[in-house]
C-alpha cells in the first residue's frame, strides 16, 4: 500500500513532465519522436522503444529516458536501461531525474551493492543535498525495508544542509513501522512546509488502528489550532467511520474563507462516503457562514438522510426564505414536505401541499402528493392515504396499505415487484414470509397501531395474533417483547422472551430471546441468570450472529457475579 503511493506520485510526475516537455519544444524532431513513442507505448512497446532510443540521442534525452524506463519495464528488459543511464549521468552528473531512474532500475534488478554505490556516487555529486537520500529511502520503503530507510535518513540528517528536507520521508517511515504517534507528529510538521502532501498524510495515517488512533488525534489537534492538520484529521475520521468525530476535528478553527473552502471539500467527501451526519454539520456551518441557500438545502438533505428531520425542516424553511419564489417552490418545498412526513406531521404536510397546490404544475404536484401519501402511511392513517395510493399506484404503498387493512394476500401480490429497500416494509415482509394466512384483522390493527405509536394497542393485537399465526408466532412475540423492552418494562418483556426460548427454541428469534433475557437479568443485577442465558445462547446457537456479542456480555455478567 505504501509502495503504491510512491508509484502513484512518480506516475503523476511523469504525466506532468513529458507533455510539458513536448509542448515547450514545439515541432522539433526529437519531441515529435517522443510524442509518437508515447502513443505507441501500450500497443507497440518495441516500436516505442526504438523511437525513444532515437530521441535519447537527440535533445530529448530526459523524456526519452523516462519513456524507456516504462517501456523496458513492461518488456521485462529493464537492465537494457543501465548503459543509457550511465551515459546520461556522464552528461549531467547532478541530474536528479537521471539518478532516480538509475536507483529505481538497480532496485528493480535487486543489485543491492550497485544500488548502494550509486547512492554514494550521487551524494558525492551533490554534496549537502537531500535528494539522493530521499530517493534511496523511498525505494527502501517500497521494498518494505522500513528499518533500513530509517537508518539511511538518520545518517543523512547529519549530512545535509537542512534535515527538515526529510520530514515527509521520516513520516512515511514512522507510519510504515506503525509508530503512529511519531508518524502523526511528523506529518503535521511536513504539512507546514509541503501542504500539497496532505493526501499522502491521510493515506499513511489512515492505517492506524485501535488506540493508536488516539495519538494521531492528539497530534493533529494539538495547539495551535491549524486548519490543514484538522482537515487531515477530519478525512481520517471519515475513513475510520467516525462521522461525528470527523466534523468535531474542525472545532476551534476560525471560520474564514479558507475554512469554508475546507468544509465544502470535507462535506463533499462525507457525501461521497455516505456519511450524512458529517455532511449535515459541514453544510449547516457553511450556510451559517455564507448564508447560501444551496448550502442550506444540501444540509437539509443530509439532515434528512441522517434521520434528523427537524433540522432538515428548519434548514429547508430558511433556504426558502432566501430563494426566489419559483426556486423555493422547486427546491425547498419538497424537502420541507419530506421532513414533515418523516416527523409524522402528516396534517402539516397536507397544509403545505394545499398551500402550494395552485402554484405548481401537475408533474410537480404529483411528486408532492407522493410525499404526502407516504406521510399518511407513515402515521398509519389508511383512510387519508387510500385515495392517493389508488391514484399513484405504487407497489410499496399498495402493500403497506394492504397490511394496514389486514389483507395479507394483496400485500404479498404488491410486494412482488416492490423496492426491497423501503424500511417501512421490513417488518411486514418478515411476517409475510413466515405465515400463509390470507387475511388477519389483528395483524392489520397491530401494524396500524405501531405506525400510530399506540404501543398498548399494538401489544394487545400482536399477542392476540400469536396464537393463530403459526410459524410466525415467535416473530410476533418478539415484536411485542421488543416494544416492552424498549419501554423499560422488563417485568412483562421477560415472560415473552422466555416463551420464545422455551416454546420456539428453533426459531430465528430464540437467540435474541436468550440475549434479551440475559440483558434484563443484568439490569436486575442477577448475574447468575444472565450467565445461564448467555451460556445457553452460545451452546445452543453457536453460529448465531449474536454469539460474539453474547461472549462480550458474558464477561460483564461474570464480573457482576464476582462482585456481587
Amino acid at each position: 500500500m505504501l509502495a503504491r503511493s510512491w508509484v502513484l506520485s512518480a506516475s503523476l510526475a511523469l504525466a506532468v513532465t513529458v507533455p510539458l516537455s513536448a509542448q515547450e519544444s514545439g515541432t522539433s524532431t526529437t519531441d515529435s519522436l517522443v510524442v509518437r513513442a508515447l502513443d505507441l507505448e501500450d500497443s507497440k512497446p518495441r516500436d516505442a522503444a526504438v523511437l525513444y532510443r532515437r530521441a535519447f540521442s537527440g535533445t530529448g534525452m530526459m523524456p526519452a529516458l523516462l519513456g524507456l524506463e516504462r517501456v523496458y519495464t513492461n518488456l521485462g528488459m529493464i537492465d537494457s536501461l543501465l548503459p543509457l543511464v550511465r551515459s546520461a549521468i556522464r552528461a549531467d552528473p547532478r541530474s536528479g531525474v537521471v539518478r532516480s531512474v538509475q536507483l529505481r532500475t538497480l532496485s528493480v534488478l535487486q543489485r543491492d551493492d550497485e544500488l548502494t554505490a550509486a547512492v554514494r556516487d550521487w551524494v558525492r555529486a551533490v554534496p549537502g543535498e537531500a535528494a539522493p537520500f530521499k530517493e534511496y529511502a523511498r525505494l527502501l520503503l517500497e521494498s518494505g525495508r522500513s528499518a533500513a530507510a530509517d537508518s539511511v535518513l538518520t545518517v543523512a540528517s547529519r549530512m545535509v544542509r537542512d534535515p527538515r528536507d526529510f520530514s515527509a520521508e521520516l513520516a512515511q517511515v514512522a507510519a510504515a513501522q506503525r509508530m503512529w504517534n511519531e508518524a502523526s507528529r511528523r506529518w503535521r510538521e511536513t504539512l507546514t512546509q509541503t501542504p500539497q502532501l496532505y493526501q499522502a498524510a491521510i493515506f499513511a495515517l489512515s492505517l492506524a488502528t485501535g488506540v493508536a488512533r488516539d495519538s494521531v488525534r492528539t497530534n493533529l489537534t494539538a495547539e495551535p489550532v491549524w486548519l490543514p492538520a484538522r482537515r487531515v484529521l477530519a478525512s481520517l475520521e471519515l475513513i475510520w467511520s467516525q462521522p461525528r468525530q470527523a466534523w468535531l476535528a474542525f472545532t476551534g478553527v476560525k471560520a474564514d474563507a479558507e475554512a469554508v473552502a475546507a468544509w465544502k471539500e470535507f462535506a463533499d467527501e462525507a457525501d461521497a462516503r455516505g456519511m450524512p451526519v458529517a455532511s449535515r454539520e459541514a453544510w449547516a456551518a457553511i450556510y451559517r457562514k455564507t448564508g447560501e441557500a444551496a448550502s442550506a438545502l444540501r444540509a437539509a438533505d443530509a439532515a434528512l438522510a441522517s434521520g434528523d428531520a427537524a433540522t432538515a425542516l428548519q434548514l429547508a424553511s430558511a433556504a426558502q426564505g432566501v430563494l426566489s419564489a419559483p426556486l423555493g417552490l422547486r427546491d425547498a418545498v419538497p424537502v420541507r414536505l419530506r421532513s414533515l412526513a418523516a416527523m409524522g406531521r402528516a396534517a402539516d404536510a397536507l397544509a403545505l401541499v394545499d398551500s402550494v397546490r395552485p402554484k405548481v404544475v401537475p408533474a410537480q404536484l404529483q411528486l408532492l402528493e407522493r410525499d404526502l401519501m407516504w406521510a399518511w402511511l407513515r402515521v398509519g392513517d389508511a383512510a387519508r392515504a387510500r385515495p392517493l395510493v389508488v391514484r399513484l399506484d405504487e407497489d410499496e404503498a399498495t402493500a403497506l396499505l394492504a397490511i394496514y387493512d389486514g389483507d395479507l394476500d394483496k400485500a404479498r401480490l404488491a410486494l412482488r415487484n416492490a423496492d426491497a429497500s423501503n424500511t417501512l416494509l421490513l417488518s411486514p415482509r418478515a411476517l409475510l414470509s413466515r405465515t400463509t394466512l390470507p387475511t388477519s384483522k389483528e395483524i392489520g390493527a397491530a401494524f396500524t397501531a405501531l405506525a400510530r405509536r399506540d404501543t398498548a394497542t399494538a401489544l394487545t393485537q400482536l399477542l392476540n395474533t400469536a396464537t393463530e399465526i403459526g410459524d410466525a408466532a415467535p416473530l410476533v412475540l418478539a415484536m411485542a417483547a421488543r416494544l416492552l423492552t424498549a419501554s423499560g418494562d422488563d417485568a412483562r418483556a421477560v415472560p415473552l422472551w422466555t416463551r420464545i426460548v422455551s416454546d420456539f427454541s428453533t426459531s430465528p428469534e430464540a437467540a435474541e430471546g436468550d440475549l434479551e433475557w440475559a440483558r434484563a437479568a443484568l439490569r436486575a443485577r442477577d448475574g447468575g441468570t444472565a450467565i445461564a442465558r448467555l451460556e445457553h445462547l452460545l451452546l445452543t446457537y453457536p453460529s448465531s450472529a449474536l454469539a460474539p456479542q453474547a461472549r462480550r456480555e458474558l464477561e460483564s455478567a461474570r464480573r457482576m457475579a464476582e462482585t456481587s
Binding site: 509508530m179 485501535g210 488506540v211 495519538s215 451452546l539 453457536p542 454469539a547
Partner: protein
C-alpha cells in the same frame, strides 16, 4: 514419539493453526481441563501446537461458550495423528496439573496495563496478585509460576520522573512506594526492590518458573547483579549512582545477562545497554521491525519448543521500556527463542537457573506496538488469535508439562 501413551477415552483435538477461531481461549480451555484433573497433551509442532483433551461434557461446554474450535477424534483418528507425529519433528507432552499462578502487581492502579494480566483474564486462567509485602514474607513458594511485567527493580520508577514528575499518578506512586518501603523496614525504595529481586532469584533457584516482560526483565537482572552496589540515581535513594558501579556488578548471580553497562546519567531514560531498542532515548532508539521465532526439535528440545508454539513464525515487533536484549550481553547458556530480524538482538530468551527456569519476553503489549502511558488496555476480544499473546500463554502452560530429562 517418546512420552505420551494413548489415552483410553474419545478425545478432542484443539487445533492451534489457522483453523482455530480463538487461540487465546484455547489455552484457558486446556487449563480448565487440568484444573478438573483431566489428562491433556500438548502436541508440539502439530497443527500450530495443538492440544489433545479428553472428550468430556465440561470441555465441550466451555469450548462452545468460549468459541474455541474442536475436532472429535476417535481411536483411529488419534492413532493416525500419533503415527504422523512419530515420523516428523513433533512430540506429545503430557500436561499434568494446572500450575498455580502469581502475578507481581501493585494493589493500586497504574496508568499502564499488563499484557499478562490481560491475557490471563481473557483466557479465563485464574491467578493471584502478589506485591512487595507478600514477596518479602516468603509467599512466592506457594506458586509454580510467577509473572513480572513493568516493575523497575532498580527502584528508579522506570526513570519516569524525567517526563512525568509533575503527574499526579507519578507523585502518588512515589509516595505509596516510599511508604511501603519504610513499612517493610527498608531505608529507601531501591533497597526494598533489591530485596524483592533477591527473593525472586531464590524462588527460581529453588524450582520456580519466572516469566518477565518489558522493563521487569532488564531491571531484575540489574538489581540481582547489583545487589551490593548503588546502581540508583539520587532521585530514588538520595545518593548518586556509584561511579564504579559497572565494575562492581556481580553478573554471576544474574539469570541471563553478563557484562552489561549501566546508564550512568539520571537524565537519560535508559537503564543499561541490555535493551537494544532504547525507545525512550531519541538519539539511540532503534526502529521496530519484525522478530522471528526459532524452530526447535520437539523431541530433543521440548522446553524451547513449548515456549515457541505458534501459528506464525514472524511477528510484528512492539516497543516496551525494554524491547529486546542485546545479544552481546547474554550469557552463553541463554537460549534465544526469538531474534530481531536483521539486528544483533534477541526478543525472547529462556534459561534454567538452579532447579527452576526463567523466560524473558521484550516489549510491553504485543498488539500495541508503541504502547504509551495512559493508553487504553488492549481488548483481546478483538485479537483472539494474537500470535504475540500466544507466547505469553505458552509460558503459563509450560509448568504444567510433565518434567522429563532434557535430551541435549
Amino acid at each position: 514419539m517418546s512420552a505420551a501413551s494413548p489415552l483410553a477415552a474419545q478425545h478432542l483435538l484443539v487445533p492451534m493453526d489457522d483453523a482455530q477461531r480463538n487461540h487465546l481461549k484455547a489455552y484457558g480451555l486446556t487449563y480448565s481441563a487440568l484444573q478438573r484433573t483431566e489428562k491433556a497433551e500438548w502436541l508440539l509442532n502439530y497443527r500450530g501446537g495443538a492440544f489433545l483433551l479428553l472428550d468430556t461434557p465440561a470441555t465441550r461446554r466451555r469450548a462452545g461458550i468460549d468459541g474455541v474450535s474442536l475436532t472429535s477424534l476417535d481411536v483411529g483418528a488419534l492413532a493416525a495423528i500419533r503415527t504422523e507425529m512419530a515420523g516428523g519433528n513433533f512430540d506429545a507432552v503430557p500436561l499434568e496439573r494446572a500450575p498455580k499462578v502469581a502475578i507481581y502487581s501493585p494493589p493500586s492502579a497504574n496508568p499502564w496495563d499488563d499484557a499478562v494480566t490481560i491475557a490471563l483474564d481473557y483466557a479465563g486462567i485464574p491467578y493471584t496478585k502478589v506485591w512487595d509485602p507478600e514477596v518479602i514474607a516468603g509467599d512466592l513458594a506457594k506458586y509454580e509460576w510467577l509473572h513480572l511485567h513493568h516493575e523497575d527493580f532498580t527502584g528508579q520508577y522506570n526513570k519516569f520522573y524525567i517526563s512525568y514528575r509533575g503527574s499526579p499518578w507519578f507523585i502518588n506512586q512515589v509516595n505509596r512506594t516510599v511508604a511501603q518501603a519504610r513499612q517493610l523496614g527498608f531505608n529507601n525504595v531501591p533497597a526494598l526492590k533489591k530485596a524483592v529481586a533477591e527473593k525472586m532469584r531464590a524462588y527460581v533457584e529453588n524450582g520456580g518458573f519466572l516469566f518477565a516482560m518489558c522493563g521487569a526483565t532488564e531491571t531484575l537482572e540489574l538489581a540481582i547483579a547489583g545487589a551490593n552496589v548503588d546502581i540508583s540515581s539520587g532521585f530514588a535513594d538520595g545518593t548518586p549512582m556509584d561511579a564504579d558501579a559497572d565494575q562492581k556488578m556481580d553478573w554471576s548471580r544474574a539469570f541471563a545477562v553478563q557484562n552489561a553497562h549501566l546508564e550512568p546519567s539520571p537524565l537519560i531514560n535508559s537503564m543499561s545497554d541490555i535493551d537494544g531498542h532504547q525507545v525512550n532515548v531519541p538519539g539511540r532508539r532503534r526502529a521496530l521491525g519484525t522478530f522471528s521465532l526459532f524452530a526447535f526439535s520437539a523431541k530433543l528440545d521440548p522446553v524451547p519448543t513449548m515456549l515457541t508454539q505458534n501459528h506464525r513464525s514472524v511477528l510484528q515487533d512492539y516497543y516496551g521500556v525494554t524491547t529486546s536484549f542485546t545479544k552481546s550481553t547474554l550469557k552463553p547458556g541463554t537460549r534465544v527463542l526469538a531474534y530481531e530480524d536483521g539486528m544483533p538482538l534477541a526478543k525472547y530468551i529462556h534459561g534454567s537457573y538452579g532447579k527452576g527456569a526463567w523466560t524473558f519476553l521484550g516489549g510491553h503489549d504485543p498488539e500495541d506496538p508503541q504502547h504509551e502511558v495512559g493508553a487504553a488496555p488492549t481488548d483481546l476480544s478483538l485479537y483472539p488469535s494474537s500470535p504475540g499473546y500466544r507466547l505469553i500463554l505458552n509460558n503459563v502452560l509450560f509448568p504444567a508439562a510433565q518434567k522429563k530429562p532434557r535430551k541435549t
